[in-house]
């Protein structure tokens, strides 16, 4: 039997949405308040969904401890309480939640193999959220 398991995590980070290819006035027009030079922050809620056959011996899709360890090591330790604009992943791209979710998906895909990575869902605020299941080209 194939089941989907979803775990939710919280991390906090700051960012500024600013594209180097646009003028200052264009940046302000596109990003509005998010273009504030000093940045701002969010409490992000991250939902990781993995899938697989339920192991008959353990009753599990994967051991939650292994998933928690991987997410803590690869994602939370990296993105919690940091300025996203200073992260290596965002030196050539704007740290929108769209770009962040693709980065998170790709990191987990490479570093967690105990179950199939089905979907990542990322809430930037309680009012907006994003989902990504892989296979989209990275945007600049």
């Amino acid at each position: 039997m194939k089941a989907h398991l979803t775990r939710r995590y919280i991390f906090s980070a700051s960012h500024r949405l600013h594209c180097g290819d646009l003028s200052d006035s264009e940046n302000r027009a596109v990003y509005g308040k998010c273009n504030n030079p000093h940045g701002h922050g969010h409490n992000y809620a991250l939902e990781i969904t993995v899938s697989g056959q339920v192991n008959p011996g353990t009753g599990m899709v994967c051991n939650l401890v292994d998933l928690d360890d991987a997410v803590r090591r690869e994602i939370l330790d990296h993105f919690d309480h940091v300025n996203l604009n200073l992260c290596s992943e965002f030196q050539d791209s704007v740290p929108t939640t769209e770009n962040l979710i693709v980065v998170i998906f790709d990191i987990l895909k490479q570093n967690f193999s105990a179950a199939h990575l089905e979907k990542v869902r990322l809430e930037e605020t309680a009012m907006n959220s994003f989902e990504y299941s892989g296979n989209s080209p990275r945007t600049g």
Partner: protein, 136 residues
Amino acid sequence: MVYLTRKCEFSASHYYHNPDFTEEENQRIFGKCANLNGHGHNYTLEVTVKGEVDPKTGFVVDLKELKEILNREVMDALDHRHLNKEVAEFATQIPTTENLAIAIWNRLERQLNMAKLHRVRVYELPDLFVDFYGEA
């Protein structure tokens, strides 16, 4: 096709222990959940059914009938129970959230005839849930 989701909550106790494993294996794999004195959760269940909207009633499903099935098959059987000791499915299976979602699916699917079961979602905690779509 319209999807309808009904939510309910139940509380139950359980432990994770496989008699085919050594004590060391049980501890390593299941951690605190292997404590044979058990522990409990407030579970939230979301049952999603799908179907065409009946042109006369405007319903995908008669919600009263769905609630009766949920009460009889899930709430009466699981609420304020010890899953390992009182629920037949878990005499031979570990009552993980994965197996719980599958057991609830099997209990509901054979009772539902007015709409098709689409998904069973079981929250063990607000930050941990399992979805089962009836996939082999």
